[in-house]
């Protein structure tokens, strides 16, 4: 229970949250400075900037920081034509994932979550307030309690990162690089990989979503089922119903005009 207004809660960070953020930052800095020693894809000059982002700016976006990292990586990392995974790259990716997961968790307490009801193209406002009518509280999350930031959460984050990375590597390993097919379709090897990877990802997401929907479908409440049935029926009869209703309305208007 909290009697304060959400605006006040937004700027109130418990000490444990700050400590958690600091630990995450230090871990991230160590990973970026120690692991990729050979090529050093991220200039050291940028590191203080990231730390500043993490510690001092309250309203910011994880997505912006990820974008920044990726841009720097794309610009600095050399191209390799081998399909073999380099251990330093795997470790770097693991560290990056741990950082993203931790940062997301850290900043969920301070950022108001906006319930986006628009299309993705229109959602240019990152974390803007959206007030509900009439005078409902905006969709914000209060700072979490101290006991939620436990060591178990850090371990869970690490575990998730490792699991995610394993799936990623399997996915990349599954994507073929057959030179004959490349010659047949006149594509570059990387283009073929991108297409196959995209199709695989799309297929996996659709399949999972379909399976989940199938199970969820059986758990509809009677009201939802009625709405579905009624909307299906009206979908079939929509043209006829529209014609009938418009005719009825026209007659009513004529009758009113006559009166």
């Amino acid at each position: 229970m909290n009697s304060e207004s959400p605006n006040l809660q937004l700027f109130k960070q418990p000490a444990s949250v700050i400590m958690y953020g600091l630990t995450t930052t230090v871990l991230a800095v160590i990973m970026w400075t120690i692991l990729p020693q050979e090529e050093t894809p991220i200039p050291f000059v940028l590191l203080p900037l990231f730390v500043g982002f993490l510690l001092f700016l309250r309203v910011w976006t994880i997505a912006l920081l990820v974008l920044l990292f990726l841009v720097v990586l794309i610009l600095n990392e050399p191209s390799r034509y081998d399909q073999q995974m380099q251990p330093d790259a795997i470790l770097f990716a693991a560290g990056m994932l741990v950082f993203v997961i931790s940062a997301c968790r850290f900043y969920v307490s301070s950022a108001p979550l906006v319930n986006v009801k628009q299309t993705p193209l229109k959602s240019t406002r990152f974390f803007s307030w959206e007030h509900w009518k009439p005078s409902r509280v905006p969709h914000s999350i209060q700072p979490r309690h101290a006991q939620h930031f436990t060591l178990a959460e850090v371990w869970t984050g690490l575990l998730r990162a490792c699991f995610t990375l394993a799936i990623t590597m399997v996915l990349l390993w599954l994507v073929p690089l057959d030179l004959r097919s490349v010659q047949n379709v006149r594509l570059t090897p990387s283009g073929l990989r991108a297409i196959v990877l995209g199709i695989s990802l799309f297929f996996i997401v659709m399949l999972t979503s379909g399976i989940l929907s199938l199970f969820a479908w059986k758990r509809l409440s009677p009201s939802e089922a009625r709405v579905y049935l009624k909307s299906t029926l009206t979908d079939f009869l929509h043209t006829d119903l529209r014609m009938y209703i418009k005719q009825k309305l026209k007659q009513r208007r004529a009758r009113l005009k006559g009166q």
Binding site: N2, I74, E77, L97, V116, T188, G191, T208, R219, K230
Partner: protein, 603 residues
């Protein structure tokens, strides 16, 4: 549902993966694809929790220790609520915001009924809060809103657990210290509720002695005095009658506009309940005539605790039962109904269960979105009201034509007036006050005075014609905007006065207007809103002056406030009636004249 954070992360990670694969950059590919896979796994977990774990949450609510679905409450009297959300089986939801949805008629005292929780296992979650109703009427606590988040703030879902409880909120009343004197000043004290009138009657106290008139009962002859004066004298006794109070309560549209607790109707109900309580504590009978645009409802004067609660119940109905005036469909109305429906019935607005018929039109995306919104809203609301029809069918055992129901639900897509009426009905049923955009101000300004005066005149005349002794008529009516032109009501008041009854008119103005001080000068220039407010106050004061002049000329007492001062004014009128001090003279002839005038006009 994805949050913006998730949307942007997906976009960036997808672009990064594509670039990484195309440019053969291992780190970029791994990191970007890793983020995508992680988001996918989180989404999977979140959806599992929302679809398969959240439905196991059940809600129970106790109000002042009772878990009954119906009950009584009193305006401004706090009540304690304990809300318990308990999982039926062991579940785990890391972050959920639970909020009790309160209607506008309820004010939470102290902490708001909202809390952030982590659900783990079967441990129930408890929210305690105190609230109080702001105005009389029906109070419906619909249920609990659940907003579920993941720990990273990537996904969001909203669900609603329905647990409706409906209470009847009775108007409050003031306890006044106006008890009758306990000192015995007269020989015989009449029983409670009976008052001595200084008029000839059949009481027990002597009023006067007069000469004998043939036809006087022999037992009333004062023999000793007759012997002393040497002519027959007759004893005349006072009349002992009860003082009846009839309350006329105006529940028309103009009294209902505004926030709960600040409407003129709320002020009127407070005064009516207080006057009734005070009069009935002296065992004076109190009756009620409430009227709105549908017609008058009469409760005959009576006494007793049971009758008092019957009056309170009827006053509560005055605040509840009424159809809103039809308003035109506007985007504000649709948006408000949409947000309320999304908050309270999110499952029914789900895209998955609402099939949208294919159509090329409307072409533009914004219009198309509005059209889709309307279709979903129609489906959800028609389902809501079908449930009500089902209940009606069960209660009254009369079948509802379902084919017609389907056609009429589809009619809502094209008939704007019908759709607007449904939205209004829905918002009022969900406990929203009668103000913009639920009720258009325009329809309030076009108030039908003739109809109101006709109803009031008929009710008052009927009461006067059925009255036995001196009665008090308390008119709690919104008359400010009639501009002092009372029409046929003036004749009805004159008739009541001519029959020795007393008439008291209470016509309150909204509180925010009565608080404006026009005398003080401001250092800063007034804003346009302040200027408009002042102009409105000036207009109302001028109208009040005209009305007051007219009513005083008719012999009625007037008050433009509805607080303790107004109650005391009414009670002083009651006291005047109790002592029998009323105007005398050629009242009967006046009454006959006015009576014939009213009859002639109504013909």
């Amino acid at each position: 549902m994805l949050t913006n954070r998730a949307r942007w992360l997906i976009l960036i990670a997808a672009c990064g993966t594509a670039l990484g694969v195309l440019r053969m950059q291992q780190r970029v590919t791994l990191v970007s694809l890793g983020i995508l896979v992680w988001l996918f796994l989180e989404w999977l977990l979140f959806r599992w929790r929302v679809d398969f774990e959240l439905p196991y949450l059940k809600c129970s609510r106790t109000i002042n220790g009772s878990s009954s679905n119906t009950g009584m409450m009193r305006v401004n009297r706090p009540f304690e609520v304990t809300l318990v959300i308990s999982p039926v089986r062991s579940i785990r939801i890391p972050m959920v915001r639970i909020e009790e949805i309160l209607p506008e008629n309820v004010l939470a005292i102290g902490s708001a009924p909202v809390g952030d929780f982590a659900i783990s296992g079967k441990t129930p979650l408890v929210i305690n809060y105190t609230a109080q109703p702001k105005a009389a009427g029906d109070l419906k606590l619909p249920g609990v809103s659940l907003r579920v988040f993941d720990l990273q703030g990537l996904f969001y879902a909203q669900r609603f657990i329905q647990h409706p409880q409906t209470f009847r909120v009775l108007p409050t009343f003031a306890e006044l210290d106006d008890h009758l004197p306990t000192l015995k000043r007269l020989n015989s004290v009449p029983p409670p509720g009976i008052h001595r009138l200084h008029q000839a009657g059949m009481g027990s106290e002597l009023l006067e002695l007069r000469e004998y008139v043939p036809g006087d009962p022999p037992k009333s002859i004062a023999w000793k005095v007759s012997a002393r004066r040497d002519q027959l004298m007759t004893r005349q006794y006072e009349s002992e009658v009860p003082v009846r109070t009839i309350l006329f309560v105006d529940a028309s549209i103009s009294t209902r506009s505004g926030d709960f607790g600040q409407r003129t109707l709320d002020q009127m109900l407070f005064v009516a309940a207080s006057v009734a309580k005070s009069a009935m504590s002296a065992r004076d009978p109190v009756g009620l005539i409430r009227f709105d645009n549908t017609g008058p409802i009469t409760i005959r004067p009576s006494i007793g605790e049971r009758h008092f609660y019957r009056l309170l119940n009827e006053l509560t109905k005055a605040a509840t039962v009424n159809s809103p005036p039809r308003s035109r469909l506007n985007s504000q109305l649709v948006e408000l109904a949409w947000s309320v429906c999304e908050e309270r019935y999110p499952q029914l607005l789900n895209k998955r269960t609402n099939l949208i018929p294919f159509s090329l039109f409307p072409l533009f995306p914004s219009s198309r979105m509005q059209w889709h919104k309307r279709i979903r809203l129609v489906n959800a609301l028609s389902e809501q009201y079908t449930q009500k029809f089902d209940q009606f069918e069960k209660q009254h055992k009369s079948p509802v034509n379902r084919e017609q129901l389907l056609v009429s639900s589809q009619e809502l897509l094209y008939d704007d007036l019908k759709f607007a009426s449904l939205l209004q009905r829905f918002l009022i049923d969900e406990g929203f006050a009668w103000r913009e955009p639920v009720v258009e101000r325009r329809s309030l300004e076009l108030h039908h005075w003739d109809r109101k005066f006709e109803l009031l005149t008929n009710s008052l005349s009927r009461s006067v014609s059925g009255a036995r002794d001196n009665e008090l008529y308390v008119l709690l009516v919104d008359l400010i905007d009639c501009g002092g032109n009372l029409g046929s009501l003036a004749d009805a008041i004159r008739l009541a006065r001519a029959r020795h009854h007393r008439v008291c008119v209470l016509s309150p103005v909204p509180e925010f207007l009565s608080d404006v001080d026009l005398e003080t000068t401001h250092a800063h220039p007034l804003t346009s809103d302040e200027l408009l407010l002042r102009a409105e106050v000036l207009r109302i004061r001028r109208a009040q002056d005209n009305l007051k002049r007219e009513l005083i000329r008719l012999g009625a007492s007037v008050s433009f406030v509805c607080d303790r001062r107004a109650i005391k004014q009414v009670l002083s009128e009651v006291n005047l009636l109790r002592s029998g001090r009323t105007a005398r003279g050629n009242a009967n002839t006046n009454a006959a004249k006015i009576s014939s005038a009213i009859t002639g006009r109504s013909r």
